[in-house]
């Protein structure tokens, strides 16, 4: 992975930069010892590592502002970091960069049930936002699989999704406003608890900008009343095509499940060996979850059953109780862990039009044979968000190379059929050089203009999202 040559001048001035940072932060909030900085050398994309210049852990918006002002004056790149769970290298540092971690900013600042919002500091973890409002019967809807660990700051940076976004949308649909610090230290408020902006929707472009426009320190989030109940069903098919047709049939019938998850045979076999959830051995498996009162659940499931039966499933399993519901989800939730037991894996998350599913799975199978690497597919089928898991041996450099080449081919295929490179993980460094597959130079220029306005010196998370060649002229300035 190419990264820009670090700024030797900045590295030479490390002592001065660190002492300036210590003037605005408590002693334990500035980390500069190389052995302590190892923690920050990578995020969940562990194939790429680099020890940063320093790391800071501020507690308030004002401290963030002071840090950014100093870094801006010193010309030091800053890499914001939530909990470091990015699979795309969004929080990967460079040797001349200061990591700005928001982990200590985890307070709930305000809960307002009458107006249905919560205001939190951005370092708070996703699951603990729901935890803070659970007793009153509310929840925060976006539920990325890393929700126990991942921070709201990272969710906003990557516009994170989750299994239940078919009904509730992704982060941008549940984010009402932010307090954010620009690279020059200016504090701006975008949106607010009322949700709708008065003028341009700047909040909308900040969400998903991968920490390149500002450091979000506080967020107003929409909270929703919890449904009365939820229940999954499991449906097995002997063909990917038929499973895909069943998904389309359910959507066409006007039923809106909260989740429709899809697993293919390699993935089913791997999870079965690992988690023993009792899944049938079939070509394709759907987990469909519906919500509501008991009567509403029964009504929806009856319709789903009728549609599924018309597609001749090898299995249709309703959860009769909590334990059975848990077992239906068990395999799906263990899928990544199960694949990890077999080998190292790379997880992609391109999105495709649902109608292209059979074609794309067939092509992935063919490519798997061409590259000589196994692949399992987990898929948010309702919204077309794929998760091919390519297995490889990280101890063999040639395997990693092959795996990356295979991954790139899959993502090109996603774009070719009308989809996109990434549905929820973000571009980061991982897919940076594939952006030109999806976007023209003009398309990317329009996006980079936005960064020019928010961060004219391109110091904030600079070497991410855009191919290095296209952002080079800006990063030098």
């Amino acid at each position: 992975m190419d990264m820009p040559v670090p700024d030797g001048g900045v590295i030479a001035r490390k002592g001065r930069i660190v002492s300036r940072l210590r003037t605005v932060l408590p002693g334990d909030a500035v980390i500069d010892a190389p052995e302590e900085l190892r923690v920050y050398e990578c995020d969940a994309l562990t194939a790429y590592r680099c020890v940063p210049l320093a790391a800071v852990l501020p507690r308030t918006t004002e401290e963030v502002s002071a840090v950014l002002q100093i870094c801006s004056e010193e010309g030091v790149p800053v890499v914001p970091r939530g909990s470091g769970t990015s699979l795309a290298g969004g929080a990967m540092p460079s040797a001349d960069a200061v990591i700005l971690g928001v982990a200590r900013m985890n307070e709930v600042l305000e809960t307002d049930y009458a107006n249905r919002f919560i205001r939190v500091q951005s370092g708070r973890t996703n699951l603990s936002v729901s935890g803070a409002v659970e007793a009153e019967g509310f929840f925060y809807a976006p539920d990325p699989s890393s929700q126990l660990a991942c921070a709201i700051a990272g969710n906003i940076a990557m516009n994170s999704g989750g299994a239940h976004c078919l009904k509730y949308g992704v982060t941008t649909n549940n984010l009402l406003g932010v307090r954010m610090v620009k690279m020059d230290g200016t504090v701006v408020t975008l949106g607010g608890p009322w949700g709708e902006p008065a003028g341009l929707d700047l909040l909308g472009v900040v969400c998903g900008s991968e920490g390149q426009l500002g450091v979000v320190t506080e967020a107003w989030l929409r909270i929703l009343p919890k449904p009365e109940g939820a229940r999954p069903v499991l449906v097995g098919f002997n063909s990917n095509e038929v499973a895909g047709a069943c998904v389309a049939g359910i959507i066409r019938a006007g039923i809106l499940p909260v989740a429709i998850e899809f697993m293919d045979r390699p993935c089913i076999r791997a999870t079965e060996a690992f988690a023993k959830a009792g899944y049938p051995d079939c070509e394709a498996l759907l987990i469909i979850e519906v919500e509501g009162s008991e009567a509403e659940i029964v009504e929806q499931l009856a319709r789903i059953r009728a549609i599924a039966m018309a597609h001749d499933p090898v299995e249709f399993r309703e959860a009769a109780d909590e334990d059975q519901a848990r077992r239906i989800w068990l395999g799906r939730k263990s899928a990544f862990g199960a694949m990890g037991q077999i080998n190292d894996y790379m997880c992609l998350d391109g999105t495709i039009p649902v109608s292209s599913l059979p074609h794309v799975l067939k092509r992935i199978g063919e490519m798997s044979r061409e590259f000589g690497l196994d692949v399992g597919n987990v898929f948010h089928a309702g919204d077309g968000n794929m998760h091919p898991l390519i297995l490889f041996d990280a101890n063999k450099p040639v395997d990693l190379e092959k795996c990356e080449a295979f991954g790139a081919e899959i993502l090109k295929l996603c774009v070719e059929v009308g989809g996109c490179l990434t549905g929820e993980h973000g571009v980061g460094i991982e897919k940076r050089d594939l952006m030109a597959v999806q976007f023209s130079a003009t398309d990317m220029e329009a996006q980079m203009r936005v960064k020019d306005v928010f961060d004219p010196k391109w110091l904030l998370n600079p070497a991410k999202v855009f191919p290095l060649a296209s952002s080079a002229a800006r990063r030098v300035g």
Binding site: A114, N115, R116, G137, M158, G161, L166, G169, V170, T172, N173, T186, V187, T189, L190, P193, W194, G195, A198, G199, L200, D201, L202, L203, G204, G208, P225, A248, I251, R252, G254, G292, S293, E296, E299, R303, T351, P353, V354, D383, G384, N385, G419, C420, L421, T422, G423, E424, G426, K431, Q438, F439, T442, D443, Q447, R449, V450, D452, V453, F454
Partner: protein, 360 residues
């Protein structure tokens, strides 16, 4: 000018030497922009519609009525309930789908499914120099690059001229029903809306005007009946239930602000917190229609109430002058936000020719 292809439109913008007034159907234009009219209605037609994937790609100048007809034929619709403000604003013309997104025009169902910007999946647009830009796409989950779709939604042509838009659409519900609640004063009537929205019963409309509160649910028939029953116990007051087409008409009137159409005075659209709704309205006076559980207030007042309205919403939301002579039409932004807006306009339209003067 009325180009009929994206290339023609791009050429028209690139070659323009005077300011352009970008217009879909002109049914919801606000503000005081001046210039040669550039109409998008020549860019018409559905590019792609996949009912099984709930996705629609359509040229920006396509009439909303045509979009709704195409969707209805497959028993689907735009989820966010496009308001028809022609009556309120005294306009003629044919509303276009691009104009809807450019205004982020959203109706009562916003409380349940979000606004036009939340349903928008992709855009193509021509920037102020005539370059064609695409962003987003036709799939529901997409975080590839910056989300300019949201930036374009509600930008009212200030950053570029939309040429194509993609939306996530929704199945038509099998049934709908509305609780009509009488016998409550405004404070209690608004509290009943908040109680309904805070319940797990998936309310798709919560509004109040003329001394009556309205709470809507939609979905499968059995489910609608169940939720209406549960909500009836929750909201208080004297309740009657309106179903089907009668319920539909009731919500179209709220969506289109029909009670204020043709009546003299200024009309303000105020976005605020539901709990602030009564206080804001009381301070301004005049007549109010509350939607989104009180989070949206339509106010009909005498002319020249700008200062009073601004004072009433200060720190609690913002107000737009939808109809009237005074101003400013759009509320002023905080200086640090205004600087960002000015920077974006400068870069997307360096010559300052697109809808100059519209958003202040």
């Amino acid at each position: 000018m009325r180009p009929v292809t994206e290339a023609e439109l791009a050429e028209a913008v690139a070659g323009a030497s005077e300011p352009l007034l970008v217009r879909g159907g002109g049914t919801r234009v606000l503000g005081h922009a001046v210039g040669e009219v550039l109409e998008t209605s020549g860019l018409s037609g559905v590019e792609l519609y996949e009912p099984g994937a709930l996705t629609l790609v359509v040229r920006a100048g396509t009439a909303v009525a045509e979009v709704e007809r195409v969707l209805a034929a497959e028993r689907q619709r735009l989820a966010f309930e496009v308001p028809d403000l022609r009556g309120l604003l005294g306009r003629e013309g044919v509303s276009t789908i691009g104009g809807v997104l450019a205004a982020n025009a959203s109706g009562p169902r916003r409380v349940q499914v979000g606004a036009a910007r939340d349903a928008a999946l992709g855009v193509r647009f021509v920037d102020g120099l005539g370059a064609v830009v695409k962003n987003g796409g036709r799939v529901m989950k997409n975080v590839t690059g910056y989300d300019l779709v949201k930036l374009m939604a509600g930008s009212r042509g200030a950053l570029g001229v939309l040429t194509e838009v993609s939306f996530k659409v929704q199945a038509l519900p099998e049934a709908e029903a509305t609780l009509v609640i009488e016998g409550l004063d405004d404070a209690a009537g608004l509290a009943s809306l908040r109680a309904a929205l805070g319940s797990p019963f998936d309310v798709s409309g919560a509004a109040r005007h003329s001394g009556r509160s309205f709470v809507r649910v939609e979905g499968m028939a059995g489910s609608v009946a169940y939720r209406i029953g549960r909500l009836r116990d929750l909201v208080g007051g004297e309740v009657t239930v309106v179903e089907g087409e009668a319920s539909g008409q009731l919500w179209r009137d709220i969506r289109d602000v029909t009670p204020f159409a043709g009546r003299p005075g200024e009309v303000w659209r105020i976005v605020t917190l539901p709990t602030a709704a009564e206080g804001v309205s009381a301070r301004i006076g005049g007549e109010a229609i509350w939607d989104w559980g009180g989070g949206l207030i339509w106010v009909l007042t005498e002319h020249g109430q700008g200062a009073e309205v601004a004072a009433a919403v200060a720190g609690r939301g913002h107000a737009t002058l939808m109809r009237g002579e005074g101003g400013p039409v759009f509320p002023p932004e905080a200086p640090e936000v205004a600087a960002l807006v000015a920077g974006l306009k400068e870069r997307f339209d360096p010559r300052g020719i697109l809808n100059r003067g519209m958003m202040g």
